[in-house]
Subunit: 514 residues, 2 copies
């Protein structure tokens, strides 16, 4: 199977690189982050043990619901759970035992092998915003998203150096029928980018379509033996697993494709109004969900997910980038690592309506929490606005630039002889300056992270250029990137087969908008 | 001496509280932060030992310059250093040995004892922006700062719940003569606020004036036996100690007042273009500066300072909130703790010209780095804009609100029975919601940090209210706070004496503008 990938690389990645060289457009993607820094772990051993014990107790005593899914109930019964109607009570230790067959690290292949990512251990893979029905940009304001918007986001993601993953529903293309849009979305990820992507989860049949399109792109055997999609399975917190999400999970697990099993919690509404209580529920839910994935196929790749925010108890609105969310993220990461599972959380989350200071404060808090909290897969790492209702073009490039900060932070501090710079200190001496010294000349290009967006110009230059704020700089960068976009090369036969598959599927059913 | 403070509390703090109650204006200041969370420490033991050994080697081999200060050279000679012209070479181990008499924790008294702060150990004290010659607000744009601006910032600081300290030069009152403005600035801090403050460092005589004004405010004996000012002594990096700053340090140390001994470094220009090299220089400079303070008066309170940023190697402009600055802050904190000294770094630093997304990204990075890096005294924690050239009214209240995030993060996670919330999880069960449950009702008021500024309203409400961004919300809050400001009560005799001192001093010399 590796050969298939290598062959594709020869055909597509290499061709794209050569073409990029000819046209002067530089397409560069940083390798996924490998942390060389310590983690921030907010819970001590005692707290972890209390939460783990309480989660097991909740599973045994209260249990979880598997809704409209008789086959799931039967699987649980066979595994030794106590099934009463749709309620599944799981004896202490059973769920954790079942989770043991899940791998601790996932290699998600991209069609360009240079873009393949590792999810687990010390890695952090950054994927863009997922799910908003609206888009916003400075020119057009806020409006329903279309397929044309979707394609622009995929192109921006492909052009973003610090973004490793093309994501999934980067916005909802509301101009395409609900039962068909997954086909257009997948086609866009597969043909407009060569980064890894996510599959559809809105119906089991759409998950099946996702697998079949991957079989065209990667080859049937390759898909069965390798992970080529990482898809998002939300749990209906508290403690409820619906048949649509579980149906999609079943398809993916059967086909050896990765799922993120992720409680989606607004603390205070869908979980207790305390960090320890919320973590207890998160762990109980993830234990049940991941155990179920292993009942479908032992060894199926899964990710411990935790999308948790808190509620503004005045307005009932969800809030983002708050200190309590950071505590929960950090604690959930510890729980995931103790289970030996890859961890998903975080993102560039914010509640603001605009890509303004509020958005940036909240996003930076979440970015930092994700890096230091040991997240392995960060969905929503760029472009998220207004509590996830809006995908913002400007915020996409702003956040994507910020992901470079995380890359550099993760490198840690070198202390080799060059880094010690003793000769430079001797050479310059008291009262001198380092700008011209040999050590500076040899090292300055790589020493510091450099923004491709933010402004450090002298005040007068900045004023002459129109006193642009970050949003204005970002509008300009969106335009530049889209103007310079070139589609990565793809085998014309593969692209033709994908388009034929999509056309045939769409023709086979009437439009549905639910 | 404690009695004097208590007596003042009865007269002023209590009176202010009663008056506030009558008028409905709530003046609340959170206690300084006490961390109940682990720190982020980027350097391992080997790296720390290398840097410490290299710093000692640099002091011995290269040395530091004490400029225009024969008395300092004489003190160093007597202490055992090798003095050659203005160059002081300090034998390995000597500076560190001298630093041992410095206390590990400082109690800085405020005239209202409820505002007294502890600097050292697990504490974090937040002080506002220091030094900008310009101010900016949304209405008036960027302009030279005046004394009227200065007073507004002191009032805003007094009204800011999460800000513990009134600071020093919150902006440069450029409409007052350079040789007199320190008097007006101190008078403003002493009378318009009751939080702790900083003294003048721009001339030894102005440091002396600061001490004398404190003697009026606190009583002469109280000042000699307690710390009532924490003042900022910058080192001219690389490795140069000028006579003005050292003269001010001498005054403060002799009077038992605290100094922050702080390299001011733009990495790549004033220190090597590497983190380990910069930390080596920082440590060498701080060792020499703090050792010198202990030569003046063993036991004088001092703080290990490190104001380090990096340079944009394209434009030569300083940059803020960068990953390299975070590494340096974290490493410097480790070095300070190994010396048993309080640590100053961080702030709400940014390079942006406007209080926009760039400003907020950069500020949030610096705030988080300071909290997790073990900073004990955070200067510039609110209001800093444009690389420190501008004090921004809007950013002041934006950042001050964000300091609440740090307070809540620092609390850590409770795991007592109430926090575990098992009864709530049992009560709600699968598919329910927590909004009305007993645990939520009992805990929601204190559970989550609440902004007093940011927007979480529904989109439609926000749109109806004029689609305000964070800056617009902040302008509104500045106006509200200043409109509600009431001067804290002060003994009329003390205020009169302070005003008389200032008037007399100002009358005694002609205006000077250098």
């Amino acid at each position: 199977m590796a050969e298939a990938a290598t062959r594709r690389r020869g055909r597509s990645g290499g061709g794209a690189a050569r073409r990029a060289e000819r046209t002067g457009i530089k397409i560069e993607t940083a390798k996924y982050i490998e942390r060389n820094i310590p983690l921030f772990e907010v819970l001590n051993e005692e707290a972890l043990e209390i939460i783990e014990s309480n989660a097991e107790g909740i599973l045994e005593e209260v249990g979880v619901n598997f809704v409209d899914n008789p086959a799931a109930l039967e699987r649980w019964r066979e595994a030794g759970a106590d099934v009463d109607g749709e309620r599944v009570r799981i004896p202490r230790g059973l769920a954790r035992k079942l989770c043991e067959t899940a791998p601790s690290r996932i290699t998600q292949h991209a069609r360009n092998p240079e873009r393949t990512v590792e999810i687990g251990g010390n890695t952090l893979v950054c994927a863009p915003v997922y799910g908003p029905p609206f888009v916003r940009d400075a020119d057009g304001g806020r409006r329903y998203a279309t397929m044309a918007d979707f394609e622009k986001f995929v192109k921006l993601g492909y052009m973003s150096k610090w973004l490793h993953h093309s994501g999934g529903t980067v916005c909802e293309p509301t101009d395409i029928a609900v039962n068909k849009r997954h086909l257009d979305m997948l086609l866009a990820h597969m043909t407009l980018s060569d980064k890894p992507f996510m599959g559809s989860v809105t119906e089991p049949s759409r998950a099946q379509d996702s697998v079949e399109m991957c079989e065209i792109l990667f080859g049937k055997d390759f898909v069965q033996e390798n992970t080529v999609m990482t898809s998002l399975i939300n749990i209906n917190s508290p403690m409820t697993f619906d048949d649509v999400m579980m149906g999609a999970l079943e398809v993916y697990a059967q086909n050896n494709q990765a799922c993120i099993v992720s409680p989606f919690i607004v603390g205070g509404a869908m979980a207790p109004v305390s960090v320890a209580g919320t973590l207890t529920q998160v762990l109980a839910e993830v234990l049940a969900g991941i155990a179920y994935s292993q009942l479908i196929r032992p060894g199926a790749p899964v990710i411990f997910g935790a999308f948790v925010t808190s509620i503004d108890m005045n307005s009932g609105a969800p809030t983002f980038g708050t200190p309590e969310a950071t505590h929960i993220l950090s604690g959930a990461g510890q729980l995931a690592r103790r289970m030996g599972l890859p961890f998903r959380s975080g993102g560039g989350l914010c509640g603001s309506k605009l890509p303004d200071a509020q958005a940036a404060y909240e996003t930076a808090h979440t970015h930092n929490a994700a890096l230091l909290g040991g997240v392995n897969f960060m969905l929503h790492s760029c472009g998220w606005l207004e509590g996830g209702l809006v995908s913002s073009f400007e915020k996409f490039v702003m956040d994507a630039d910020q992901l470079g900060v995380l890359h550099h932070l993760a490198r840690g501090v070198a202390v080799d002889e060059n880094a010690q710079a003793l000769d430079a200190i001797r050479e310059v001496g008291p009262g001198g300056h380092y700008l011209g010294c040999a050590h500076t000349q040899a090292n300055f290009k790589e020493a510091f992270w450099r923004t491709e967006l933010l402004d450090y110009k002298p005040f007068e230059t900045w004023a002459d250029e129109g006193e642009r704020d970050t949003q204005a700089l970002a509008s300009n960068r969106v335009e530049q990137l889209l103007g310079g976009y070139q589609k990565p090369a793809i085998d014309p036969g593969v692209e033709e087969a994908l388009r034929a598959y999509v056309a045939e599927k769409k023709a086979s059913m009437p439009d549905a908008f639910v």
